[in-house]
Amino acid sequence: MTVVEVPSLLLPADEDLSAPLPASTDVVVIGGGLAGCALAYYLAKCGVEVVLLERGELNREASGTNAGSFHFQIALHQLTGSGVESDRARLLGDVRLLAAAAEVWSGLEGELGADLGVHVTGGLMVAETADELETLVTKQRIEQEAGLSTEVLTGAELRNFAPYLAEGVSGACYCAREGHANPLLAAPAFAARAIEAGGRARTHATVIGIQQDGTRPLSRFKVLTTAGSIEAHRVVNAAGAWAREIAGLCGLDLPVRAEGLHVNVTEPRERVLTPMVQHIGRRLTLKQAANGTFIIGGGWPARPERAPLRYSVRWQSAAGNAAVAVRVMPALADVRVMHMWTGVWASSDDLMPIVGEFAQCPGYFACVAPTGFTLGPIVAQMLAEAMAGRSPGGLPAEFRPEREVALARN
């Protein structure tokens, strides 16, 4: 069995995360998930003074409880059901962002000088019905146009490439750039490097209020926490699934809500599956991790519980998720499920990232991304560069916090 090494330098233990808060800073980042840790790193790297605040421990919510997949292909959740062509303009933008995310991830281990468990394995988006196959073909053209290289495989070509797929799988779209990283390592690595670059982080500091004083441009905000208060020139809300509550502290609204997700994890088996497998019409993501376990998810819900309990397992989700997995890859039937875990994710009304400054509250920024493991690093990098004044083009308008949500996708 593989032992995942814990390089000691990736534990931000050298910094006393429970030290008193500094009196003031340029930027306070609220939320110690992947987006917040990455943002702290990119800001510190640009020479911006930053303090990261986390109410619990770093990386304990969505960023550390997802399956670590890079989703670059157009997926089920991006489709409205009104036809791929009708979504064309929006999807082109989505894919360009995803292609840029692929660039960031491919260079991230080098950037951070750390093993993040990045494995570019390729990814297969499978189709079973004729309709699903048609969707695959159409979406593949859009990906091609947006600069993401994918190809649709069918028949003997598909069987040769992926002999483990069931007979009922009629086609699959392959993207060589997809893969996964270890979600337990990415955010802590960003945090450790942020601290090395001069950033600071404090855990067990729950933000309970934000006071504003527009007459003091250099310390407009006073952020009150359970561990003391800190004055800040700028504040970034990177609270993920809880971004709406944090926005509410300043009377702002963010269309973000927390959703619970289910993941099945099996016992380790000999390697048979290299690419990640997703489904264009069903809720499925499936991959075999480096230690041989199969990690199976895809958006099946978990049950909310009252705080401080975490989301609990809905057996129905375990059963439905397992059924899709076994149907797509029949050899999984006798592999034992060893663990089930639930995670949370930040769902926005249009499932687009929310990145940028609030027009109605200068100095207050948001940095939240649904499918945040894939997009967290890129949006954090974009925002950091904008906040450091190194982004001549500014941030994409479609990410603005106060945008009109034209289309609630189903």
Binding site: L17, R60, G64, E267, R310, V313, V326, T342, N410
Partner: protein
């Protein structure tokens, strides 16, 4: 999705040891439609374990008193009309609905491999649930969780060597498979059973070369305490004296105030190194000795199986001498989770006699709750049980000075010792992560300790102890890793249910 479809019963009993079997007999005799499930192929639990499938018992007396006691409980439960199923695992519990599947072979009347017959809504006999291909959710009026206990995991250098086994494992080998574990066996442990185990092994023909007890020899003061507490417990005192006599007669050296400090050997255990300890079981420097053995049997007491209680959302107290976390129960053995009752060693390790009476009490509680008997009648029936339980509790408290668990049991590992054997994580690694957090879940995510096939059962106590040491806390102050189903590994094909609608990602 909460569904009312599926099989039902009045009382579901999880666990077919003394507590579960005794409860089944009482509940069924009061008219409750009672289903008992146990994941093992045979009933009786650990202590009353019946021989495994394929064995035919010609002379039951030769199998000893435990076999006969178990057989009597099984018979009376069955006669009362309880349905007993073996080879059936509970993998999840929410409220009073349990997810079951046929996990393994089953033996004995009343059950068949891969098929469970439960009570249907109308006709009791009509509903046949095939559990070999998928899970079944059984809805019960009340659930009695009686999961028992398992050997307290003790980590010392060499504990993962072949030839090092737990006392419970050794006992299972001889009882269910009639196999003796080795040619030269050492026993290292503590507690009332520290005498019983080697005596039993000796009785079954095992060559026990040394038995170690971490606690002190019984002195005049503790014996006086035992005598004062003894009324009603003479049998237990007699058992203890008998075990000691058996060991003496068999020439098995029994040494007090000594613990195992490591097992040595290349491919398997060849020697056991042991040392003297103080009252907290901390090793006295310079007192090490070695003995050549091919098998080391480790039995430092038991810890309750609390996974189902944790899934059900029960609240816990803590008592290291009872095995650590102890589920809270009221006078009818109701937990704090609505509809869920608890009995047996899984609620604090007190032994089979107490377990059986707790089971009977819980069955009465369920019968009262569901209206099968009046509260007055239930209280009357419970009176002798409660009297016996009180007497046994006094006895247990009197034994405490002899068998109290020392914290030294969590301090035998060295930095290189593998603590999580599933994921091969060393103590050094865990200590490193414990420096960054007080949350065992975070230690787990940094190190993978607890992510393996045993689902953390073996290492979670050691991880909690490491976090506690680092933070200057004691183990009970450290939270456990989050509890999640499945309580047992279960094949994906069995979890899979094609009838669950896939409504797409964002339909709520």
């Amino acid at each position: 999705m909460s569904t009312s479809a599926g099989p039902t019963c009045d009382l579901l009993i999880i666990g077919g040891g003394p507590a579960g079997l005794a409860a089944a007999g009482v509940a069924a005799s009061h008219g409750l439609r009672t289903v008992l499930v146990d994941e093992r192929p045979t009933l009786g639990g650990q202590i009353y374990r019946q021989p495994g499938p394929g064995f035919v018992v010609h002379d039951s007396r030769k199998l000893g008193a435990d076999y006969l006691r178990g057989q009597a409980l099984v018979d009376s439960a069955r006669r009362a009309g309880a349905r007993l199923y073996t080879g059936m695992s509970v993998v999840s519990l929410r409220g009073t609905s349990a997810v079951l599947f046929a996990s393994g072979p089953s033996s004995g009347p009343g059950s068949s491999v891969g098929r469970g017959r439960f009570f249907g809504d109308g006709d009791d006999e009509d509903l046949v649930v095939t559990t070999s291909s998928t899970t079944t959710t059984l809805h019960a009026g009340r659930v009695l969780v009686a999961p028992g206990a398992y050997d307290r995991p003790v980590v010392f250098p060499g504990w993962t060597l072949p030839g090092v086994i737990t006392a419970g494992g050794a006992q299972a080998l001889v009882k269910a498979s009639r196999v003796v574990p080795g040619d030269r066996v050492a026993f290292a442990g503590s507690g009332p059973l520290a005498l019983a185990f080697p005596a039993q092994l000796h009785h079954y023909g095992v060559n026990v070369v040394l038995a170690l007890e971490a606690g002190p020899p019984p002195g005049p003061r503790s014996l006086l305490g035992l005598l004062l507490a003894a009324p009603g417990n003479l049998e237990l005192l007699r058992d203890g004296a008998r075990y000691r006599l058996q060991l003496q007669r068999g020439g098995v050296p029994l040494r007090y105030r000594r613990v195992i400090v490591r097992a040595e050997g290349d491919d398997r255990v060849e020697a056991m190194v042991h040392a003297a300890v103080d009252a907290n079981w901390r090793v006295v420097p310079g007192s090490e000795q070695s003995v050549a053995v091919d098998t080391v049997c480790v039995g430092y007491g038991f810890v309750p199986s609390i996974e189902l209680f944790r899934l059900a959302g029960c609240e816990f107290g803590y008592d290291e001498d009872l095995g650590g976390p102890v589920v809270e129960v009221d006078e009818w053995r109701r937990t704090t989770a609505p509809g869920v009752l608890a009995a047996g060693d899984g609620t604090g390790v007190r032994g089979s006699a107490v377990a059986a009476d707790q089971g009977r009490l819980a069955a009465l509680g369920a019968a009262v709750d569901l209206g099968f008997i009046s509260a007055t009648r239930g209280t009357g029936l419970a009176r002798p049980l409660r009297r016996r339980l009180c007497a046994k509790e006094r006895f247990r408290r009197a034994l405490r000075p002899l068998f109290g668990v020392g914290q030294g049991v969590y301090e035998l590992a060295t930095p290189e010792t593998i603590v999580c054997r599933c994921e091969e994580v060393t103590l050094a690694r865990i200590d490193q992560a414990a420096a960054a957090t007080r949350d065992p879940n975070v230690v787990k995510s940094y190190t993978r300790a607890g992510m393996g096939l045993c689902q953390g059962r073996n290492c979670q106590w050691q991880v909690a102890a490491a976090v506690a040491r680092r933070a200057g806390l004691v183990v009970p102050q450290v939270a456990l890793m989050t509890a999640r189903p499945p309580v047992r590994p279960v094949p994906l094909g069995i979890v899979a249910d094609d009838s669950v609608p896939d409504e797409g990602l964002f339909v709520r």
